[in-house]
């Protein structure tokens, strides 16, 4: 493999990660406010199908992406309503929605299976795309890939560098304190959950109108991505930059699987495709294990330099969720 092939391959990794980025960023925003949107796997499928169907009917890519966002926002609104207003389990509602939306996408998408549809064109940024290496890597993508870069940056700035972002952190960490400071916790949670849902809803059409153009029902290969995106959100420690790193790592591993497939003919492709999952479990283990009681006890019994090394390593990997994640807020 020569360097040009590798650079083109890496550029394709950035493009393939775009929908995962949207999903992870939307979920990060929602969870930062304290609401887990577990419906993501279904939302991605339904918005992929919906966005594709609308684009096929109207021949408008814009309406396709808009549909995806509206579907994502609507599903998130159900999660928000049942958990914030009705105080039901977020996990239960989200899980059921994940299944319902998946089945809905297969049911309603039946007439659109295998149809030829529009596809988002590539848009080389003139001037920048001629730069060697970097040009190919970053500036020969389509609009959604550029948007995925922008969303990461915007979200990071919003959460960590703005006043409302500080309030958002407060709503997820200590809602009671945020409430005393004048934040309307319930309304803000609604806003962020629905906004996060809309961003998640971009992931679907980014698949069906760009990365994996078309709708092929159960063999679209999209089932499961939402669950991975949820794990990446945790791996990302609710920080957009670390989460983006997780998403790119995932896309890179999938690409690596495809590349290696030609040199490992005995292994069926389905096996390599799941390679990220054991890795996902392993990373979650690394992220969480520092908090386990027995690890603390074992560490305490180690000689000082070793203990300090491991303690530091665990602290670097560790990711604590927003303290009020999944906990309903009671005013009194």
């Amino acid at each position: 493999m020569d360097s040009t092939t590798i650079i083109i391959g890496l550029a394709s990794v950035l493009a393939a990660a775009a929908p995962v980025i949207f999903a992870v960023m939307g979920e990060t925003l929602s969870e930062r406010a304290g609401v887990i949107n577990l419906s993501m796997n279904g939302t991605i499928l339904l918005s992929a199908m919906g966005g594709f169907a609308v684009s096929v009917r109207t021949e408008s890519l814009f309406l396709g992406f808009l549909t995806g966002m509206l579907i994502g926002a609507a599903v998130a609104l159900i999660v928000a309503f049942s958990s914030i207003t009705l105080k039901q389990s977020q996990v239960a509602v989200g899980f059921v929605l994940a299944l319902v939306c998946r089945d809905l996408s297969y049911f309603l998408g039946n007439p659109f299976m295998g149809l030829a549809g529009p596809r988002l064109p590539a848009w080389s940024i003139s001037g920048l795309s001629e730069i060697p290496v970097v040009g190919t890597l970053l500036f020969k993508h389509d609009l959604m890939t550029y948007l995925s870069f922008i969303v990461i940056f915007l979200l990071w700035v919003w959460i960590f560098r703005t006043q409302p972002g500080l309030m958002l952190q407060g709503i997820g960490e200590r809602p009671a304190a945020a409430f005393v400071r004048g934040a309307n916790v319930s309304v803000m949670r609604y806003v962020y959950t629905v906004l996060g849902g809309a961003i998640i809803g971009l992931a679907g059409p980014t698949y069906s109108l760009s990365v994996k153009a078309g709708w092929k029902g159960t063999i679209s290969g999209l089932d499961g991505i939402g669950w991975i995106a949820l794990a990446i959100t945790i791996f990302g420690g609710w920080n957009p930059l670390r989460a983006a790193f997780g998403a790119y790592l995932f896309a890179f591993l999938q690409w690596l699987g495809l590349v290696l497939q030609s040199s490992l003919p005995g292994v069926p492709s389905q096996v390599l495709q799941v390679a990220p999952f054991p890795l996902m479990i392993l990373t979650l283990l690394l992220v969480n294990i520092g908090d386990a009681e027995w690890v603390g006890r074992t560490l305490a019994s180690l000689p000082e330099p070793t203990r300090r090394f491991f303690a530091r390593a665990f602290r670097a990997l560790r990711a604590s969720p927003p303290a009020a994640l999944g906990v309903p807020f009671e005013r009194d």
């Binding site: 319902v100 049911f107 794990a231 945790i234 979650l284 969480n288």
Partner: protein, 346 residues
């Protein structure tokens, strides 16, 4: 007064059913399909004849086994989403045992018995992984379980295309079917095995009494209700969580064993057939009460079997059953929330 509130509760539950049906009807109309025709097809497809009803029971068996197991993990406050993979590993272990033993001189009934035990062990082993990740690694059982589900599917496909492939060409149709002597006995002319039925019924009855009438069940529920309090009161919490995972995994493993010994007679890629996720919905719908699990699982199985003929008769996707099942659970959750909010206000 108490009697009155019971009627009100029933009214709310009926409202959820009506809302779910109403919503599904809207979706059918949106898809340009005749709703009444579709519902009629589902009913005749599941209860239309004795043979069709027996097919519903075939699908009821694994669903009931899985639901029974999940009632145990839910009682302990655990979201065992990994149940899907536990079914798969049960099926893999059963297939492995049958393959190892089929050429020995052991009597076939003993081989089947050992294979089902192997399935139990396989499911429990896979559940113990999710349990260990949860109790020792701090990995939420939802994510550990989901990851393990995908790994289980990959393992199945690897076995079907690799070490256990059919002579000649391997395909998605699965491994070589087992000899008829190694099938669980069926009712004559039907696809239903009386053994499978009996095993599933025993499972749900045992789980019911375990949770309702034993000290063990009480402690399991104590761990689920209030982990800290249970720990302070001297309940060995992590051991109970682990046991809960093992029981659920063993039952899911039996469900996988039934899929191999009484339904497919081989290992296929989609051997778990989504029964794990469906079982989670059954457990949620019955509000984690074992007594209702059997009828609700039967209803869900009927929807599954009834929708099989939708693609042929009405050119509709059979995922309609999943839409209806999900809507039902969703509206039950929402209506229950509304009821709680109303009663709090009054």
């Amino acid at each position: 007064m108490i009697k009155n509130s019971r009627w009100i509760n029933l009214g709310f539950q009926l409202a959820a059913l009506v809302l779910a049906l109403g919503f599904t009807t809207l979706i059918l109309l949106a898809a340009g399909a005749p709703p009444l025709e579709a519902y009629k097809n589902i009913i005749t497809g599941s209860f239309g004849s004795f043979k069709k009803f027996s097919d519903v029971l075939v699908s009821w068996v694994p669903l009931l086994l899985v639901s029974a197991g999940l009632l145990v993990t839910f009682a302990t406050g655990l979201w065992n989403i990994g149940v899907e993979g536990q079914i798969t590993l049960g099926a893999i272990a059963t297939t492995w045992a049958l393959r190892e033993l089929q050429d020995t001189s052991l009597p076939p009934s003993l081989i089947i018995f050992l294979a089902i035990l192997a399935g139990m062990a396989g499911g429990a082993l896979w559940a113990s992984l999710a349990g260990a990740l949860k109790t020792f690694g701090g990995v939420n059982e939802i994510f550990g379980g989901l990851g393990l589900n995908f790994v289980a599917t990959a393992l199945t496909i690897y076995l079907i295309f690799g070490p256990w492939k059919r002579p000649g060409v391997a395909s998605m149709s699965g491994t070589v079917p087992f000899d008829e002597a190694l099938h669980l006995t069926l009712f004559p002319g039907l696809r239903l095995s009386p053994w499978a039925l009996v095993i599933a019924l025993i499972a749900i009855v045992v789980v019911y009494f375990l949770l309702q009438g034993t000290y063990f069940g009480l402690r399991l529920k104590a761990v689920g209700r209030n982990f800290r309090a249970a720990y302070r009161l001297g309940v060995p919490t992590w051991q109970y969580m682990m046991l809960s995972f093992l029981i659920c995994g063993a039952l899911a493993g039996v469900a996988g064993a039934m899929q191999v010994t009484a339904v497919y007679y081989r290992l296929i890629p989609a051997i778990s057939s989504g029964y794990g996720y469906l079982g989670l919905m059954v457990a949620m719908l019955v509000n984690y009460q074992a007594i209702w699990a059997a009828p609700v699982a039967l209803f869900f199985a009927a929807l599954n079997i009834g929708s099989i003929q939708l693609p042929i008769v009405l050119k509709l996707d059979s995922s309609l059953s999943g839409v209806l099942q999900g809507m039902l659970v969703l509206f039950v959750l929402i209506v229950e929330g509304v009821r709680q909010q109303l009663s709090r206000r009054s």
